[in-house]
């Protein structure tokens, strides 16, 4: 049986926290497609992330981010970026909501790997209330940025 530390720090998390997928320069206003960006801070530790979402077409999006933080928050942003490359917008929203629910489950939920993919590796985090914020930081930024991107697309459609 693994220790609580090993349950928290799954190999996937340690690997992804070093891989930092999606951690590249932001395009900001030079992005072509409708886009949004969001800056989130964890006031406890000063960790921060700035994340950008670009709606490539009705179904696909690109995610880029810069930031600094603990292995949980960096791994989470990395997994998010990886998932964004592989899933549609609708699927990402479903993943976001499943991930949110998982994080607030206090360790009582089985992660649905079919939906969550690598994000299922964060199951152990839900037993550590102080770290839930770390895991959710990039997802909060994602949701906020996606909202903006969708609003921008709406505007474009109506213009």
């Amino acid at each position: 049986m693994s220790t609580p530390m090993e349950q928290l720090y799954q190999q996937v998390i340690l690997d992804q926290s070093r891989a930092r997928i999606g951690n590249t320069d932001l395009l900001r206003d030079s992005a072509q497609a409708p886009h949004g960006s969001s800056h989130q801070v964890n006031p406890t530790c000063g960790d921060e992330i700035e994340l950008e979402t670009e709606l490539l077409d009705d179904d696909h999006l690109a995610v880029r981010w810069t930031g600094d933080g603990c292995s949980i928050s960096m791994a989470s942003a990395s997994v998010l970026s990886e998932l964004a490359a592989e899933n549609s917008v609708a699927e990402m929203l479903q993943i976001e909501s499943a991930f949110h629910e998982l994080m607030h489950s206090r360790g009582t939920m089985e992660a649905d790997e079919g939906i969550l993919g690598d994000a299922a590796a964060f199951t152990g985090v839900s037993k550590f209330p102080a770290r839930i914020k770390c895991a959710l930081l990039s997802w909060m930024a994602f949701k906020d940025a996606l909202n903006q991107a969708q609003a921008a697309r709406e505007e474009k459609h109506h213009a």
Partner: protein, 416 residues
């Protein structure tokens, strides 16, 4: 049930000199059931740590106790947990609103705070029956902003005189601050009527709920007030803790008063950004053990039932009022029908201090003085009064012992 729950309050077994204790001073502060005391012990023996700042397990436990307190308060008075800001007492809560408006009026808080800006053309309305905590901060705000301070007068029966409500609360009124229940007269004020008028003129409503929340069912969302304040210590909770309750968008827009740690997002040497409510009003280390203890107190109140507590105290109020009516030379201040178990009175020919002293000699603890409501006492032509106030642990015997002792006061001081 009420007979049984007395045993939960260890202090009620105390003796005053030769006499058993009849504690009729809950209007000032309430006594605590053993479960509340036990929560202190448990907190300090098992989970004490600084909250919201650490990864270690004790800090996680402490944070949970702290945040569960907000949930308990929201269950007691309505609204969401984020609408509950911890303060040191109700006084701080009321000051946060008044001083936040002051800061907004001086340009702090940016555009979001513009809705709170007050100037010389505006008015603030209070009432003549306010506790100093809901009067002096508004005087200070008026002095600072140039706004006019107005007040609703009190009738001979101790009720708000609303005959001129429409002219006193008018289009210039930006804030209407009043007490839900008078801490002297016991009168329950017509919140709905006052809120309706405030809504007509677009004024913010600040409710001093110190004397209502402990004694009757109260839902701030139903009452539709903007801000409300009360203290834990009057509701079976510990000292050192109060609550500021507010509408979320207002709390988030109000500039904070006390600044420091745990209420900021980013600080440089040049400036700081503040968190949204409730944290923006919770600078520095918070009364965490007190919050945990108060959550227990709220659970206890809920178990007994606020409706039941209200009825029980109404019964005691009846005994007190009927009994006093039979004793010559006593004038009750405030005879409103709609009231809680708080009865203040003046004894002809004997100063309140002497009345209280004599009653204490018989084991009956009451309050004497102006009860932090000097203007109200002036309204009734006295500088001080004696006040008996009940709570869920009092019984008919307490009232009887009080009445017996009170009947002896004027003879003792040789007044007839």
């Amino acid at each position: 049930m009420f007979a049984r729950l007395r045993g939960d309050f260890p202090i009620l077994d105390a003796r005053v000199g030769q006499s058993p204790l009849s504690y009729l001073d809950s209007g000032a502060t309430s006594q605590k059931p053993q479960c509340v005391i036990d929560t202190f012990i448990e907190y300090f023996q098992q989970r004490n740590a600084a909250v919201h700042r650490g990864a270690h397990s004790l800090a996680v436990d402490a944070t949970e106790a702290f945040e569960n307190g907000r949930i308990a308060v929201a269950e007691l008075v309505g609204g969401a947990p984020e609408q509950v800001c911890w303060t040191k007492n109700a006084t701080e809560a009321l000051n946060i609103v008044a001083m936040g408006i002051d800061r907004a009026s001086r340009g702090f808080g940016g555009q979001a705070a513009e809705r709170f800006v007050l100037g010389p053309e505006d008015s603030i309305v209070v009432t003549e029956m306010e506790h100093h905590a809901n009067l002096v901060p508004w005087q200070q705000l008026a002095a600072s902003t140039g706004a006019q301070l107005r007040w609703l007068p009190v009738t001979e029966t101790g009720e708000l005189d609303l005959s001129s409500l429409e002219t006193i609360v008018d289009d210039s009124t930006k804030v209407l601050a009043f007490t839900h229940v008078s801490n002297v007269l016991g009168t329950i004020n017509p919140v709905e009527r006052l809120v309706a008028r405030a809504r007509e003129v677009g004024a913010y409503v600040v409710l001093d709920a110190c004397q209502s929340v402990p004694h009757m069912p109260v839902d701030f969302t139903d009452l539709d007030v903007d801000f409300a304040a009360f203290s834990a210590h009057k509701a079976l909770g510990p000292t050192g803790l109060g609550v500021l309750w507010g509408r979320t968008e207002l709390l988030d827009a109000l500039p904070p008063v006390l600044t420091g740690g745990s209420m900021i997002t980013t600080v440089t040497m040049e400036g700081a950004q503040f968190m949204p409510a409730p944290q923006r009003f919770e600078a520095g280390t918070q009364p965490v053990a007190e919050v945990a203890a108060f959550a227990t107190a709220i659970g206890y109140l809920a178990e007994v039932g606020l409706e039941q507590i209200f009825d029980h105290e109404r019964e005691l109020a009846g005994i007190l009022l009927d009994g006093i009516a039979e004793i010559p030379g006593i004038r009750v201040l405030g005879t409103a029908e709609n009231r809680i178990g708080t009865v203040a009175f003046d004894v002809d020919g004997v100063h309140a201090h002497d009345v209280g002293q004599y009653l204490d000699g018989q084991g009956v603890a009451v309050r004497v003085g102006h009860h932090c409501a000097q203007p109200l006492h002036r309204r009734f032509g006295v500088t001080a009064s004696t006040r008996a106030s009940t709570y869920l642990y009092n019984n008919a015997e307490d009232c009887q012992r009080f009445l017996t002792a009170l009947a002896e006061v004027r003879p003792f001081f040789r007044v007839q």
